[in-house]
């Protein structure tokens, strides 16, 4: 019984030592976040909401992969429970209470099962999207800690003494201290940084059930615009990148990665992590497709973007800002904000836009349209149909925002259908005509915040002259800018997408569509409607109202794949192995639907440009018009 008394102290002592080591390692890493810029953080609010953010919001994302969800619940729950229970055993009454050690043994046993589940994802062969490197050691550390802990607790519970106890304790110590050591550079960092990230999240609004997706406006008088180096990010953004657990869900969702363009969101975040500290171990996941190996200096003040820096500019400009990575990220990391912040520096400070994007952005700045077309020609698509103009009316119930799609011959057809539907429903509407400038969406996604703010101010001033209740637009990019991004610049409008407005008209009985049961339709969700604004139901409801046979693609709703048309990607035109719209049309073809319904001018142009496609591309408005005409 001589060694029994120490063991009840040594074992809890080990957990306390682990906690101390984890804290030390965590603080060493946290010291690096201090180089970041200041950011307002509602600490008390964040702390109070941490359990809900973790158990509801994070779990909602994690649960999309049922195996990972169960694995994490078992291993993390077990690890936390076992460690806390053991740590509490430092109190003599608990240490001497034998049933208590049975409970501890049970918790460690659960952890052991979880550890085996962790190992099964990596051995014999690692799942493709996961990173190797230090993550491959993780199952061994977990198994050592859990098995060692189970045996030690059982020995304590059964009061068995002997040589076995020191061995089991040594096993638990090796695993446990290893895990604690990994808090600085290894897999366990995600737990510490992740929890803190949930507290200090830069977009707390996304946990409140509303889509907090508007880019934050840039102060154009700031000494340095955008992010050039890690120190230019705010400290809680640096923290958020450290939360990355390299699960690779973003890379499976990323359209640019799928198309073989040199972008991998996981590697991008890991490059931001590694860029902060030269001590960071090498990245061991999938590379940027066709990209070069990381090079260049590292450190808080090292340049991140450049042909000779850590991240090649082509990586930056491949992003379509579709937010699929953000939607999939279980650690709630905001990849798109990072991309735009880096782009802002490239564009505003260095004028380093991709060669092909210079023209459209210049025209946007000089003439208010990326094509340099006369603003008065925006309404040319409506030749022959009556189109009321605000400047002649002074006001209308609905202001119809036409957007850039109006210049496109193909999209003009969709807009004409929409206008005929509005007439049919006797809606009092008008357009701005030659007074409508581009919303500046393209400039903003490409980092040209100055041009965006100029255009936004001009548009807000124009809109302020007229009386209208709501803005209706068929362009989700314009919708997002007007609804979510203009308020920060002083323009507050009620903006509604044409699909939602048409649904209202149907439900109010102002449109009486017939049924088109012969059409088989699959609906492609635009990123800026579904992910940016959370609207996935209205377009489907319209399709159901006209009685088409509707089928869903594997990726739909908020998890739909991008058409490749956002974020200035079509004008940047970074070469890849495949084209994003080709991939999306192949997914649409799997449903066997003869018609792909769209609700965005960019999607229309991108998907209709796919060669050899079997399905027709039809806007929701066009289908509804067909149904209304059939119902007469």
């Amino acid at each position: 019984m001589t060694s029994f008394v120490p063991l009840t102290t040594v074992f809890p002592g080990l957990v306390w030592l682990m906690a101390a080591l984890a804290l030390l390692q965590g603080l060493r890493r946290a010291a690096l976040w201090r180089v970041g810029a200041a950011a307002p953080v509602a600490w008390l609010d964040g702390l109070a909401k941490l359990p809900k953010r973790y158990l509801v919001d994070v779990h909602h994302v994690v649960a999309r992969d049922a195996y990972a969800s169960r694995m994490h619940a078992v291993v993390a729950g077990g690890l936390l429970a076992a460690s806390i229970l053991t740590a509490l055993a430092i109190l003599p009454p608990l240490a001497g209470f034998r049933p208590y050690w049975f409970v501890v043994a049970l918790a460690f046993g659960v952890t052991a099962i979880g550890s085996l589940l962790v190992g099964a994802r990596r051995y014999p062969a690692k799942q493709k999207r996961l990173s190797a490197g230090r993550f491959q050691i993780l199952p061994f550390l977990l198994v050592a800690y859990a098995v060692g802990g189970t045996i030690t607790a059982l020995l304590l519970a059964l009061r068995i003494d002997g040589l076995f106890a020191p061995l089991a304790l040594a096993l638990a110590a090796a695993g446990g201290l290893g895990l604690a050591f990994e808090v600085r550079h290894g897999p366990m960092r995600h737990a510490a940084a992740g929890a803190l990230h949930l507290v200090a999240h830069p977009r707390p609004g996304r946990f409140e059930g509303r889509p907090d997706t508007a880019l934050q406006p840039l102060d154009l008088d700031a000494p340095r615009l955008g992010s050039e180096m890690p120190a230019d990010f705010t400290w809680n953004r640096l923290l958020s990148y450290d939360a990355c657990v390299s699960c690779g869900r973003c890379e499976t969702a990323c359209p640019a990665f799928a198309a073989g363009q040199p972008l991998n969101p996981k590697k991008l975040v890991q490059d931001l992590v590694a860029g902060l500290s030269p001590a960071e171990p090498a990245y061991a996941g999938a590379p940027y497709p066709g990209g070069r190996a990381a090079q260049g200096e590292r450190g808080a003040l090292a340049r991140l973007i450049g042909p000779d820096a850590r991240i090649h500019p082509d990586t930056l400009w491949s992003c379509t800002t579709c937010r699929a990575c953000v939607e999939e990220c279980p650690m709630m990391i905001e990849h798109v904000d990072a991309v735009v912040s880096l782009r802002r520096h490239q564009t505003l400070e260095r004028g380093a836009l991709p060669e092909k994007a210079v023209g459209p952005v210049t025209e946007l700045r000089q003439s208010g349209d990326p094509g340099g077309r006369p603003l008065s020609a925006r309404t040319d698509f409506a030749a022959g149909i009556e189109l009321p103009v605000m400047s002649e009316r002074g006001g209308a119930e609905i202001l119809l925002w036409l957007g850039e799609g109006a210049y496109d011959l193909r999209y003009g057809r969709s807009l004409r259908a929409l206008i005929r539907l509005l007439r049919e429903a006797q809606v009092d509407f008008a357009v701005l005509g030659a007074e409508e400038r581009d919303t500046g969406d393209l400039a903003r996604r490409l980092g040209d915040e100055a041009t965006f703010q100029d255009l936004a101010r001009e548009n807000i001033a124009t809109l302020a002259q007229y009386r209208f209740a709501r803005i209706v637009t068929a362009d989700p990019h314009a919708l997002h800018a007007l609804r979510n991004e203009y308020p920060a610049l002083g323009g507050r409008f009620t903006v509604i997408h044409h699909t939602a407005f048409l649904l209202e008209l149907i439900r109010a009985g102002k449109l009486n569509p017939g049924r088109l049961p012969d059409l088989s339709v699959t609906y492609h969700d635009p990123c800026y409607l579904a992910r940016y604004n959370g609207e996935t139901e209205a377009p489907r409801a319209v399709l159901d109202a006209i009685g088409v046979t509707r089928s869903e693609m594997t990726r739909s709703g908020k998890r739909a794949m991008c058409c490749g048309g956002g974020g200035g990607a079509p004008v940047s035109d970074i070469p890849g192995e495949r084209r994003i719209p080709d991939l999306r049309m192949a997914q649409a073809a799997e449903t066997g639907a003869g018609i792909v319904a769209v609700a965005c001018p960019s999607c229309t142009a991108m998907l209709e440009g796919v060669t050899g496609r079997q399905a027709e591309i039809r806007d929701i408005a066009e289908l509804l018009l067909q149904a209304v005409e059939a119902g007469r």
């Binding site: 154009l220 340095r224 615009l225 564009t347 505003l348 400070e349 260095r350 004028g351 380093a352 836009l353 060669e355 994007a357 210079v358 023209g359 952005v361 210049t362 700045r365 000089q366 003439s367 208010g368 340099g372 077309r373 006369p374 603003l375 040209d448 915040e449 100055a450």
Partner: protein, 269 residues
């Protein structure tokens, strides 16, 4: 090398917004590839050329002249003082307070060599020499190597302008050099302005009469060379190759006799 880029208050050809003329923006790119360049503007308001700071110039000198005044004397005075090795200017106006005559007036007054329609400038092999590529239209180029100060006008085929960088524009400086010493009225610009009207292109030798179908036939050559062609069904490869060669010679793609080639029509690089 000292480079001066002449800047003017232009107008966007479509929107009419005050912008830097595109060819001057291209001139800035050419200058930026050579060395330190300054912008030079004579006009009532320096704000008109502020955009140039974002396009690659770090410094602009501005000589204030009253509205409607002639900028040429002010520019002559300033250029004589600066004595740059290279002066770059746009090649023609595009609707604002600018004129394609200014470079000629300056070259005349300063006794500078004027090389029009330049699309590329590089430093030559010798000290103080320059190599300029001049556009002769339709892709033909002429390379000119010369020594000494020169005034060149930029052709639209020059590399496109650099992207505008807001931060660079913010950092750049505009130095006001006071007003022009003497006020001179501009040349009498009594010109009539009216909107451009595109006119139909006349195809030489096209029939003017007949039905639309006949005119289309004539224009697309269906009654001409295409109609005269011979149809060969599964011909011998040798024979097919001969036919193709003969046709290419007939339309002038290949020289009349094989072997002897002449590249008289090849444009100089």
């Amino acid at each position: 090398m000292k480079i001066a880029v002449l800047l003017s208050a232009g107008r966007h050809p479509v929107s009419g917004a005050a912008v830097l003329p595109r060819m001057e923006a291209q001139a800035i790119r050419l200058a930026a590839g050579l060395g330190e360049a300054i912008g030079l503007h004579a006009g009532p308001d320096a704000a008109a050329v502020r955009e140039a700071l974002g396009l690659g110039l770090a410094r602009i000198e501005h000589v204030a002249i009253p509205e409607g005044g002639d900028p040429v004397p002010a520019l002559i005075a300033r250029l004589a003082a600066l004595a740059p090795d290279l002066v770059l200017a746009g090649r023609r106006g595009q609707g604002g307070a600018e004129s394609g005559i200014v470079p000629y007036a300056l070259a005349d007054a300063l006794d500078l060599l004027l090389i029009p329609d330049v699309i590329a400038v590089t430093s030559g092999d010798g000290a103080g020499t320059l190599t300029l590529d001049q556009s002769l239209g339709r892709g033909a180029l002429r390379r000119v190597s010369l020594r000494g100060p020169v005034l060149a006008t930029v052709h639209p085929d020059a590399p496109p302008p650099l992207a505008y960088a807001y931060g660079r524009a913010r950092r750049g400086s505009i130095d006001g050099l006071g007003s022009a010493p003497t006020l001179t009225a501009g040349p009498d610009m009594a010109v009539e302005e009216r909107p451009y009207r595109r006119r139909p292109k006349l195809v030489k030798g096209a029939p003017t009469g007949g039905s639309a179908a006949e005119r289309l036939k004539a224009a697309t050559g269906e009654s001409g060379s295409a109609a005269k062609g011979r149809l060969l069904v599964e011909p011998d490869p040798e024979e097919a190759a001969r036919e193709i060669l003969a046709y290419l010679r007939q339309i002038g793609v290949l020289a009349a006799s094989s072997g002897a080639s002449s590249d008289a029509s090849t444009p100089t690089p």
